[in-house]
């Protein structure tokens, strides 16, 4: 039996290859006082020359395997290493302060990095700080006589093993040779995980000990579906996973064919299959996976990736990019959902005993209407560029929704009066994620244009169980009849008023939940883009009349979560 490592499944697929350790060597050094500055300056120049020679090699290799554009970053690195100001400053430091080349290099480059990182209005310059860091590392490695890993020089199939993968690491990876990767840290939404799904490379993140438990040259199996890695597997294990890989690829090819198809059940009923996104850049994945709409655009990234409150213009640009990118297909934007586990450095919120039950989401928006109005104006402006819908998170009462809607109407009237162009037929709805709201869905349905069920929160509030607490994780019961009844109540109430209901939690793409949700008459299913084709394929095989019967049984006859799972398994076998 091979050694096994468990992590977070970041990207589907199976990879079997030799491990490539993308791990920085120890680059620590001591500050020293030197008495021969000329000799120290010569050491510096030797290290600079060696670094440049290495970069020339990497550059020509990268130009061939990755393309001229990717190779340009190395040209920029070479130019930095030839910079007269940079080198002059380091030489001066060695002479004037009598310090070793390592220390002088660090002091001078730290100064530049600080300058560039301070240019907060210029993202390009901020990223250049990363370039300076990269070249400094390279020169330092030559001064210390240790070897840096050079992923751009990889020329055989590998599984990358790293503590974490940064954007500059990933830019150097050749898709042809990198079969998969595993990292120590990160979650499903970290840069490395998102990148793995974009590149469609099987990956595991957050394994905690990949870099310590795997050694260079070990054979590694990455099972991206289950977040499992096997180190030095035996022949049987290799055979088993080779078959799994083959099945996965065949399945994927089958799903691919459904990309441009409408989502229809076996009996020809249409459902909207949508995708959830976090940033405007995610649109590519939405389009590539054939989603019919964006069912949830989390606007938090605008607040979380910034060092101050995002301006109306910044928000407008982001929303506009998304609605334009979807070319007339609907985009549902959720207004700010800060608080709970999401905190902002520039908007300090009081510490609370129960942040998930506290001051968050619409509760902040209705209190800090200045923030709310700015966001609504940006959304209204963006509505002119496509089909936009807006929803409010964490609505618990009719009064809250009415209040939020009134503020929206007020901003809208002001903009119409001022002659600002806004879109026609903007729908305004709410997230259904609080049990109290689900119980009076019939009342709320009179005022909203739609509901969107947020299952993660609805489950945690219904069962009074913190979703981050492992001790009570058994109470995460998405199929429990109690939850299904809340969902049914919501869907039925919306239909009675001629409105529609979507779902934008994990559950919407869950293969056990989908049959029941179809039976309950859910109109829109919104999930990670990569689950869309899988779900479309499942729905094609299901008959809505049968699913209706199944859902009826699940809601009325079943007693437990497991009862429902069994019902579904029996019905769709």
């Amino acid at each position: 039996m091979a050694k096994q490592l468990k992590g977070i499944a970041a990207s589907d697929g199976v990879a079997i290859a030799k491990a490539y350790m993308l791990v920085d060597p120890d680059l620590s050094f001591d500050k020293k006082t030197i008495d021969n500055p000329d000799a120290e300056i010569k050491r510096l120049h030797d290290a600079l020359d060696a670094s440049k020679a290495e970069l020339e090699l990497i550059k020509s290799k990268a130009a061939k395997s990755l393309g001229e554009e990717e190779a340009e970053v190395f040209e920029a690195h070479i130019t930095i290493l030839s910079d007269p100001e940079l080198i002059g400053n380091i030489e001066d430091k060695i002479k004037n302060d009598s310090v070793n080349a390592e220390q002088a290099l660090k002091d001078v480059t730290d100064g530049f990095i600080e300058t560039f990182e301070a240019m907060t209005d210029n993202q390009y310059m901020q990223e250049r700080a990363g370039d300076i860091r990269d070249v400094t590392k390279r020169v330092l490695s030559h001064l210390l006589g240790v070897k840096l890993p050079n992923p751009a020089l990889i020329d055989s199939e590998v599984v990358i093993v790293a503590h974490d993968l940064t954007p500059s690491d990933t830019a150097q990876l050749d898709r042809k040779y990198v079969k998969g990767f595993i990292t120590d840290i990160g979650g499903r939404t970290s840069h490395s995980a998102i990148m793995s799904r974009t590149l469609e490379i099987p990956a595991i993140v957050g394994s905690e000990k990949a870099t310590t438990d795997i050694e260079a040259g070990d054979t590694v199996i990455i099972d991206g579906m289950h977040g499992l890695a096997l180190v030095n597997p035996d022949a049987d294990e290799v055979a088993k996973y080779e078959k799994m890989e083959k099945d996965f690829l065949a399945q994927k090819a089958e799903w691919e064919k459904l990309r441009d198809e409408k989502t229809l059940s076996k009996d020809g009923v249409h459902f909207d299959l949508a995708a959830n996104i976090g940033t405007p850049d995610d649109i590519k994945g939405v389009v590539d996976n054939g989603a019919e709409a964006v069912g949830l655009f989390r606007s938090e990234f605008l607040y979380m990736d910034a060092s101050e409150l995002p301006s109306e213009d910044d928000q407008f640009e982001a929303y506009k990019k998304v609605v334009e990118g979807m070319k007339g297909k609907q985009v549902v934007v959720r207004t700010m959902d800060i608080g709970g586990d999401k905190q902002l450095p520039y908007l300090p919120l009081p510490e609370e005993m129960n942040p998930f039950l506290g001051y968050r989401a619409i509760r902040i928006s209705l209190d800090r209407t200045d923030l709310f109005r700015t966001q609504l104006r940006a959304l209204l402006r963006a509505s002119a560029y496509g089909k936009l819908a807006i929803m409010f998170p964490m609505i618990a009462t009719v009064a809250e929704f009415k209040k939020a809607k009134a503020i929206y109407e007020d901003e809208k009237q002001k903009m119409v009066k001022a002659g600002t162009k806004i879109g026609d037929g903007i729908q305004v709805g709410m997230m259904m994620e609080i049990p109290a709201a689900a119980m009076i869905a019939d009342k709320l349905a009179k005022y909203v244009d739609f509901f969107s069920i947020g299952t993660n929160d609805l489950i945690q509030y219904s069962f009074a169980a913190d979703r981050g607490n492992e001790k009570v994780s058994y109470l995460y019961q998405p199929y429990n009849p109690s939850l299904l009844r809340l969902i049914k109540n919501t869907i039925d109430a919306s239909h009675k008023e001629g409105k529609w209901t979507g779902m934008c939690g994990e559950m919407a793409g869950d293969q056990t939940a989908v049959p029941i949700l179809m039976g309950l008459g859910l109109d829109e299913f919104s999930m990670s883009a990569t689950s869309v084709l899988k779900t479309r394929s499942l729905m094609k095989r299901l008959d809505t009349k049968e699913m209706k019967k199944l859902a009826e049984k699940a809601v009325t006859e079943a007693e437990t979560n497991d009862d429902v799972i069994k019902l579904v398994n029996d019905a769709i076998k």
Partner: protein, 88 residues
């Protein structure tokens, strides 16, 4: 000393590739070459210097060269500016 003014039309200003090419062009000459923007002058042979100016679209910059090949230096830089679409 030779000087010439440029109006930057490139949407992204003097960034990445064009900055590298300007520095490489300037480095071929003996003359001291400087780039001035908003009263701040930097060595045009220094990529860090050029980048630290953060020259954006619609900026007005001045290139000056001082040395035996100053005329040729200015011509070469004007050429690069034009070829890279930085200026007219």
């Amino acid at each position: 000393m030779e000087t010439r003014d440029f109006h930057i039309i490139a949407e992204t200003g003097i960034h990445a590739r064009p900055a590298t090419l300007l520095v490489q062009a300037a480095s071929k000459f003996n003359a001291d070459v400087k780039l001035t923007y908003k009263d701040k002058s930097v060595n045009l042979k220094s990529i860090m210097g050029v980048m630290s100016l953060g020259v954006g679209q619609n900026a007005d910059v001045t290139v000056s060269a001082d040395g035996d090949d100053e005329k040729e230096a200015i011509e070469a830089l004007a050429d690069t500016m034009k070829k890279e679409g930085l200026s007219d």
